[in-house]
Assembly symmetry: C2
Homo-oligomer: 258 residues x 2
């Protein structure tokens, strides 16, 4: 958000947003065997956070999550899923220094009774995108908006490390029940490519032969009469998603066991 918006938000948000409630977004990015998470660095401070914000009086939770991710990172058309709500009483405590810092960068005073300093319960949303295809930008409250490898996440503010790790658990659970990959792999892909995707997200090795058998038997992908040339003697078959079955499994769920 531009600075005047951030200032207006601190000054007048009290009447436009639900008190005691926020939303935090965990955006995972996949590309070529790497899984990353999108983090914001606070303006003029060595503090990192997930992109988060508040819910307007008249919008529903999904609308709020989409708007917040857009305002904080510039990203659009990301389908976010709710996964858990975080409500320890002290989770969003801001020190005096933090409050002073926020007042300074927004040029808006915050007294001790300010609505942003009340206990806040946060609703977690997550999504996965192909990070080489998007270009996130920091908002006015942030210096940087950066993809960070999931095993190198720094200390984050509040309970954001917990929110991140619970989102990762939810993502790993999800891939046993919903197809994944449509927006993460090229339109035509090889079995090793989809195998890499699943291994990277699950963070563990999956037997290649067994994986291929299971994923093909679900009917989500179909073999093309076409090969990819990746070396002198290597030209694996290409596959693509069966979009009709993929969408059906998205709606109705499925069971995948490796």
């Amino acid at each position: 958000m531009p600075q005047h918006n951030a200032t207006e938000f601190i000054k007048k948000g009290e009447k436009e947003y639900l008190h005691h409630l926020s939303i935090d977004c965990v955006l995972f990015g996949y590309h070529d065997r790497h899984l990353k998470v999108l983090l914001l660095k606070w303006k003029d401070a060595e503090k990192w956070s997930l992109p988060g914000g508040f819910i307007r009086l008249d919008e529903n939770l999904e609308q709020a999550a989409t708007r917040i991710l857009n305002e904080r990172t510039g990203l659009d058309e990301i389908f976010l899923q709710q996964f858990q709500t975080f409500g320890e009483p002290g989770r969003s405590y801001r020190s005096k220094e933090d409050v002073a810092h926020l007042s300074t960068i927004t040029n808006a005073a915050m007294g001790p009774d300010h609505w942003l300093l009340k206990r806040t319960v946060s609703i977690g949303y997550y999504a996965v995108t192909e990070y080489s295809k998007v270009n996130p930008q920091p908002d006015h409250l942030s210096d940087e908006c950066t993809w960070c490898e999931i095993d190198a996440v720094p200390r984050l503010i509040f309970d954001h490390n917990l929110i991140f790790s619970e989102a990762l658990k939810a993502l790993r659970m999800q891939i046993y029940h919903q197809p994944i990959g449509y927006n993460l792999l090229p339109e035509k892909f090889t079995l090793p490519e989809i195998h890499d995707l699943y291994e990277t997200i699950l963070g563990k090795a999956l037997d290649r032969r067994n994986f291929a058998k299971k994923i093909v038997s679900l009917g989500l992908i179909k073999k093309l009469n076409e090969r990819k040339s990746i070396g002198a003697h290597r030209s694996p078959f290409l596959y693509k998603f069966d979009k009709r079955r993929y969408d059906k499994a998205l709606r109705e769920g499925m069971i995948l066991a490796f």
Copy 2:
């Protein structure tokens, strides 16, 4: 809660509870091939709801859920799990008649700006218990506290039918990833008994032979050198849960695919 507590709550709760937030509990009950859900009937009105309530300023979400279920139904020692948060802007709308009714039964006036009439986001919790072992009791706000077959749930207030159906989805998803049955079956049980439990919760037929093979291969149950006599020529082996493996699977998750 006793009437004076309900009255105090309407009058003074504004300073003791988080505004804009509530918790609703979906308690499922299993017994002998029946799956039910616990509902409250409003005092002096033909309105049904899930047991719900509000979060004190100093308690966390799990503490609030446990206290609320206890205050509204008398039940204790029920391990509730969070599953989804519900936040459509109009979800908790109370008509003038509803407000007047609530004022009457609590003997406490509620003006149009009363905090309970603000937009409320509700955090859903659920659990499963053995309903023949517990004895729920209605609180002062309710006439009845009743187990209702899951396929005969009446029209509930607010979006409680949605909360119920999403809880059922969450429960059905959970049994593919966490063991279930320790508090729902007798200490020693037959394969048909645990098969019935899974079929009833999933609401679909499961091949008996395949089910037995899968559930035994997970190592969660062990065969005893003991049989149950259930008829002239029928005496199936008894099984019990391997508590160590059961608890490990609870902590770490597992994958069950029929």
